[in-house]
């Protein structure tokens, strides 16, 4: 009989190697899938994992794009991971991201066509504020009424999406846009353009913010008393209460951080890579970030690596579509597999596999 036995302590070895084993397994099973689709599996795997980094024609472009794609994912996932550690399930980052982008963009557009250097910082502030406000809705409802934050934050994503459609065809519509939906393009307005800080590196302010967030989260969780409280509340809620942790404060803190970071990510995206508010500028980063947070096992450094890995599968997946003609859907399935393998293998961090009957002892 095969059964699981709880380890006295999480295995350090398994914590380190499960991501590698998961990637390896994904490559094998994913390779079989590509073979079934009539594509050379080695070619496909190489295109996804190798070409974005080292292909002689694409790499110089796609390497910086990894940062562009990973930046918002990491920024959002860092915020989410802090809440997840405390057992607060904010799965509505997509909504906070959208509202942040709308608020930040609206603040900027109000001053069109000023070229003041103060506009961009103001937009970042309003973006953060917008995301924060949107996250405060589930926070207030949870602390005041005990309403489930998973569902409230999720419902608010759809509300945000409807607001987005409404403002992109109404309030924020570009008056010189020939009647088409979408705001002015921030890329064509220097004061608000979130341009690359160094040309051709992909390094824009959102990526910088993500790196700062990684460091700040690391310090918070490892060194700061609130970080300790957050972890305590997640791992032993009752003990947390006895040691004087105020659960409401932790809820506000965690959702607040997540909202601020998601809102900023939205603003950086809309003023940078996306360029304008449109009904579809949000590419699901808020949901993908949840996966990134788990792939990075809720650890700041892990999230940074997971964000880059996820970005790699996106960009590599696009290259595979373009050069090998594999369907885009297979890439989605591939990412799903990666997550499944990681989640499944995670069990060996806390449990060990035993074959045979339980010993009496």
């Amino acid at each position: 009989m095969i059964r699981l036995e709880k380890r006295p302590q999480p295995s350090q070895l398994w914590t380190a190697i499960t991501p590698l084993v998961a990637v390896l397994l994904t490559m094998i099973v994913g390779g079989l899938m590509f073979a079934a689709l009539g594509t050379d599996p080695l070619e496909a795997i190489r295109t996804i994992f190798w070409d974005p980094l080292f292909h002689d024609r694409f790499a110089s472009f796609s390497r910086p794009q990894l940062l562009v794609k990973a930046g918002p994912l990491v920024l959002i996932a860092i915020g989410l991971s802090i809440g997840f550690r405390a057992g607060i399930w904010n799965i509505g980052a997509e909504g906070q991201y959208i509202i942040g982008a709308i608020c930040g963009a609206a603040a900027g557009l109000a001053f069109y066509p000023s070229e003041s250097v103060l506009i961009f910082p103001l937009m970042i502030l309003c973006g953060a504020l917008g995301g924060w406000l949107w996250a405060m809705i589930p926070a207030v409802l949870k602390t005041r009424f005990g309403t489930n934050e998973i569902l409230v934050s999720l419902m608010l994503v759809y509300v945000a999406q409807n607001i987005l459609i409404s403002v992109s065809t109404g309030l924020l519509r570009n008056p010189e846009g020939m009647g088409f939906p979408g705001s002015r393009n921030f890329k064509q307005w220097d004061a608000t353009h979130n341009a690359e800080i160094f040309a051709n590196t992909g390094m824009h302010w959102g990526v910088v913010a993500a790196l700062i967030a990684v460091i700040a989260a690391y310090v918070l969780m490892a060194r700061h008393i609130q970080g300790f409280n957050i972890r305590l509340m997640g791992e032993a809620p009752r003990a947390a209460r006895f040691s004087g942790v105020n659960p409401a404060r932790i809820v506000f803190l965690c959702l607040g951080i997540a909202g601020v970071l998601a809102g900023m990510a939205g603003l950086f995206e809309v003023t940078g890579p996306a360029g304008q508010i449109t009904g579809s500028f949000n590419a699901g980063y808020g949901f993908t970030a949840i996966i990134v947070a788990f792939l990075g096992r809720l650890h700041p450094i892990g999230i940074l690596l997971a964000g880059l890995l996820m970005a790699l599968t996106y960009i590599g997946g696009e290259l595979a579509q373009l050069t090998l003609g594999v369907p885009g859907a297979s890439i989605q399935l591939f990412q799903g597999m990666l997550l499944f393998f990681l989640l499944g293998l995670d069990v060996f961090t806390n449990y060990r596999l035993r074959i045979g009957h339980k010993e009496v002892a």
Partner: protein
């Protein structure tokens, strides 16, 4: 505007059709959650059911077989979720999201050859005698068989949870898996069964979309219906009867909004499309403020016998 052009009989009939997919998925998910498991992969299972049901219906020219296949497909997909969360003890939120991702990808791969073709659809089944009733007959008793099936299913789930011993055990597992385990119930297998049931229901809901409501296959055609099903379960505070109300309310707002537009009313489309979500939040607040959460106490928590 001329609202008199809206025919209430036809309106109710349309609402029933538009609500059936989410009703099927929601009633399944409610059973899953009652057992203490949160499966966020409803969308992925629905769309897999939609494509498999469509493919089988086209190849066998039997919509009935299509529905059966869709239920099986939904259940098989949910089995991966079940194995991961129940045996490998993975996080349910993340696994559910992964299931949605995988389901969306898988379905569009399977569906490629089926894009743009027509399928056999379910005929209307007029219930003898009842369908001859004035007004009510056309409104309630002239639907296809899956509409009646979904209503029967709701009643069956309600009776199962309320009156049967198995239903009681299921609820006990969802409230306190440790006590249930101590009483000698096989927590993991009971949950696995609930997950399979939920998967099958979601698959049926998806197939209703691709075989009756639209009826055709297109990539991503569930367009968020699975998430709405999740919202309805909470909206209903985990009660079968209220799941029915919730699903018809959601279906109702969608259809009503289109009917108002068709009648020439100048409705703010974005506000109306957002209204079901706002209403759900409001209901959530009201039921949680009253203190009666109704949520199974072990919802979302992993269970391992050594704990």
């Amino acid at each position: 505007m001329d609202l008199s052009s809206i025919n209430p009989v036809l309106l109710v009939a349309s609402i029933m059709i538009s609500a059936t997919p989410i009703l099927l998925a929601a009633i399944g998910e409610m059973v899953v959650e009652k057992s203490g498991v949160l499966n966020l992969g409803v969308e992925g299972m629905m769309i897999t059911g939609a494509v498999v049901g469509f493919a089988v219906a086209v190849n066998t020219t039997s919509p009935g077989l299509g529905f059966v296949a869709a239920a099986v497909a939904g259940a098989v997909l949910s089995l991966t979720f079940g194995l991961l969360t129940q045996f490998m003890l993975s996080n349910q939120v993340a696994t559910g999201l992964g299931l949605t991702l995988a389901g969306l990808g898988l379905s569009s791969l399977i569906g490629k050859p089926y894009e743009g073709i027509k399928s056999p659809t379910l005929p209307k089944f007029e219930i003898p005698l009842l369908s001859d009733l004035p007004i009510l007959g056309k409104m309630l008793f002239s639907h296809d068989v899956m509409v009646y099936f979904s209503l029967l299913l709701v009643a069956a789930v309600w009776a199962f949870l309320k009156y049967t011993r198995a239903g009681l055990i299921l609820r006990a597992v969802g409230e306190s898996h440790d006590s249930a385990h101590a009483l000698g119930y096989k927590v993991v297998y009971i949950r696995l069964f609930a997950i399979l049931f939920g998967g099958a229901c979601a698959g049926l809901g998806g197939a209703y979309l691709s075989l009756v409501r639209v009826p055709q296959w297109t990539e991503g055609m569930t367009a968020g219906a699975g998430w709405i099903a999740l919202a309805i379960v909470v909206f209903a505070s985990w009660r079968a009867g209220r799941v029915l109300i919730g699903a018809y309310l959601f279906g109702g707002v969608t259809v009503l909004q289109l009917n108002l537009q068709a009648a020439g009313a100048n409705v703010p489309v974005a506000l109306l499309s957002a209204s079901p979500y706002l209403i759900t939040i409001l209901v959530l607040v009201v039921i949680s403020a009253r203190g009666a959460h109704g949520a199974p106490a072990s919802l979302g928590r992993s269970f391992h016998a050594s704990n």
